[in-house]
Structure formats: structure tokens, C-alpha cells
Amino acid sequence: MADFEPRIVTFCCNWCSYAGADGAGVARLQMPTNFRIIRTMCSARVDPEFILRAFSKGADGVMVLGCHPGDCHYIGGNYRARRRIALLRLVLEQYGFDPRRLKLEWVSASEGEKFQKTVTEFVDVVKALGPTPLQKEAN
């Protein structure tokens, strides 16, 4: 699957990770272009339904990026997100997905390089996993 280009949905929190992604862009860091960013106010705003909807529409991987533990703009949003995503990963595993298709990472506003590194690594992981196992519905 050398020519497989994954489609990845990335949720970035407004206060840290989106600024981090912006920083990566301003610094002109090279990274793969397989991801689309959706900005949310907090990583805890990412309802599990959003993630399941992304997978059901054919996303090969989903990334949720938030503030570092202790740094959440809303004090404890990222702790909630962390539990939710861990739970969702169990569920994806039960469905038969490789849980590595869903990634949660902390990227602060100043960490453009970490954003680049996270995205690059995740794209490599998803490339190795191959396209989403979800079959298109017949009708």
C-alpha cells in the first residue's frame, strides 16, 4: 500500500493545540497534508459522537489534541477528554478497529514542533495500518 494516503480528522482545542498548529505553520515546518483540522473550544468539547461520525464517514484515523494536563483553559476539560477517549478506544477495539486509529495527544500553544512530530508519526502509523476497515454500506 505504498500509494495509500490516509484521510485523518484532527480536532484541536482553541487555546493550545490550534495555536500550536498555527505555530507549526508560521514556522514553515514540513509535515504531511493528510489531516484536516477542526477547531473546538476544548478537547472535552469533542463528543464521542463526532469521532464515531468521522470513522463512519470513512476517516482512516482521528486525532484529538488538547492542552497539557494541568494547563486546560477550563481547568479540567482535558482530564474528561482523556477518560472519554480511553473508553472510546475500548469500544473501537470491540468493533474490530485497531485502537491506534484514534490518538489523543497534548500540544501546547508554543509546541509547533511537537505538532509536526505528532502529525508525522500518526500519519505513519495509519499508513502502516492501511485504509479504514469500515466497508461502505451497500445501500
Binding site: 482530564y79 477518560r83 475500548l90 468493533y95 474490530g96 478497529f97 476497515p133
Partner: protein
Amino acid sequence: MGFLDELFKKKEKVEDVAANVANKAEKAVKGAADAAKAAAYDGEKVTHELQKADLGELLPGAPKGGKINLAIYWAAACGGCDVSILDVNERILTVGDMANIVMWPVAADGKEKDIAAMEDGEITVSIISGAVRNSENEHMVKLLRQKSKIVVAYGTCACFGGSPALANLVADGKEEILNYVYTKTPTSADFQKTYHKDAPVIPKVSCKVPEGELTLPVLYDTVKTLDQVVDVDYFVPGCPPQQETISQMLKAVADFAYAGVALPPKGTTIGITTKTLCDECPRKKANARITEFLEPYQVNVQDGICLMDQGILCLGPSTIGGCGARCTKAGQPCRGCYGPTADVQEQGASMFTAVASLLPILDDDPICDEEKIVKIVSEIKDPLGYFYAFTLGKALIKKAVKETGGQ
């Protein structure tokens, strides 16, 4: 091998059960003290007496324009919905005055050929319970749709897939299911060993006998909800629908049959409220954080306090109200049979959100690693089966998938 094997293996942990019994005895003592605390906390005694069923008025004989035609059919369902229709109490005796029951497999004589001989639209109302799981289900619901003015998806299986839809999680589909049921379960394994030593016998779609060919309906790989197969006018959720819900449905039909009152708009879900089950539940929430999840048999369930506060996983926060919170009033957690609220599609996803917020934030949360978090959420056993017990047919991802490993 597959999913079913694993499921049964989990159940065989007998020593775990023994440990739980010991635990329970210990907790019973603790429970008494907690109950006293609960009474003090609540201040008022919550009674769990169910309200007397509303008997309502009997239907007034035959409608002016003649009796309407009523068909009741079950597809992939347990039959509980058919029985629940009797819940309209003595009014059921007068339903026969209002309507000809042209088909009701469990109670009346109408056959498929009688329905096929009818004109299109000759049946006023078809009440169909159950999911669509085989070719016979599909043929019958399509036939009834063609012959009916109104089709009602009655019960959770017809509305959301219900528990039959959990079969969609068996990765190898119907082959694995048939193989398991007819060769692996203890009774069938024994039978196959005794009578069919060389090759196990598994039901086939068609079979030649001296008298001709015998056929069985084709089992499908995917269990579908009724509205994924035919156009549905109304939805009546519940496993089974509660008496009030059925009465509302009967009233709508009777008003239409006797007085020509307009029916609710197409697509209406009958018998639900606009809020979640928690809104109807009389238990009080103390917003306790929980770290272990229990089944009701493992604790002495206290009256008046939210079941979640007591560590019992209850699907109330993600389930639409309308049932009157019967289960939680009786000390049993909500399993979610009335389906998701109107604003979301995914009942399970709503529940992940709710549960994750109930887990406490720990002192070492800023520094702990992912393994610890996984350990915390792993307290919930089988989240997919538990949170989607009734609604997998309508979930965003409806079937098990298989990773190909990049091939």
C-alpha cells in the same frame, strides 16, 4: 475462536462470583448504615408504588364508516411486543369492534396469501414489531407496507434494532452464528456428536426430499431496523412499549377511525418526552464520583439515591424519557430501551460522555500515564454491548469490522 466463544468464557469465572457473594454480605451490613444516611440526606420517603393503570374508556363499537383493517406482525423479535399490546387492559376486548384484525401471527388466523390478495392501502394500520433479519421478515414487511396506509414501528427492535442487532458485532456474520448455535452450544454439540458424527448438520436454505424441495428463509448478515427497509410512519419505542405509550397509540388510531381526527405528523415518535429519563426518575442525584461499577445484585440498592451515585451503571442520562422510569423506581438501572434523545443519533456516545464525567479526577492526574487511565475506564466491562444494548441498529457504526493489517 470468535466473539461468542469469548463471551461465554467470561461468564465462566465462577470464582469471581463467589467473591462477589462474600462482598455482598459485607456490603449488606454497610448498606444498612448507608440507608440511614440516605434517609437523613433525602428528608422524605420516596415511595415506589406504581400508579394504578389508567383503564380509560372502552371503544364505542364499530366506526361509522365501517371497521378499519388492522395488521400486527412480528419480525425478528421475542414476541414480548405482541403480548404488550394486551396492556391496554379491557379495552383490548373492544379493539375487535373497531377493527378487523387481518393478520396477527400469534393470535389471529390471517396468512400471507390473504394479505397478498388485498388491495394496496386496504389495511389502515400495520403494527410491526421486530428487526428485519431474514428474507421472510423483509418480504412480509414490504408486503405490509404496500398494503397499508400507516406503518408503525412498534417496539425497540423495530425502531433501533434492539438486542437482535447485537448480532452485527459477530465479525464473521451469519456463518459464525449458525456454526456456533448448531455445533458449539452444549445441547447442540451433544446432539451433533450423537447423531451426526461425520459432518454436523446445519440448517440449509433449501433441501431436496422425496416429496419435493423444502425451503427456509435466508438469514442476513446484517440485522436492520424497520425504517432501513421500508418507509415507516410512526415509531413506538420500548422493550416492550409501556402501557401509557400503547394507550397513546391506540387513542391516535381510535380518534382517526371514529372521528377522522388528523394523525400526528409523519415520523413522530409516540410516547416519549423531550427530556431524558433522569427527568422522570424520582431518585436524587448527589453528583458522587464513582470508581467502581457494580451490578444491582452486588450491592444493597438504596432508595431515593441516584443509582449512578451508588456505582450502578444506569443509561438514564442518555435515554429519552417516556417510560415513567419503571426500572429505576424498582431499583434496577435503565438499560436504554427507549432510545437516544432527539438531539443526538448515538445513545452510546452520549453515555460515554456522561460516564467519563463521573469518574473522579485524581490527585496524580496531571502526571499519571495512559495505562492508569485505561485501567480506570476498563472498570466498565463490555462498553459496546452495554451502551448499545438496544440501539446498535441505529448507531453510526452498525457492524463489526476487520482490520486487514495494511494489506
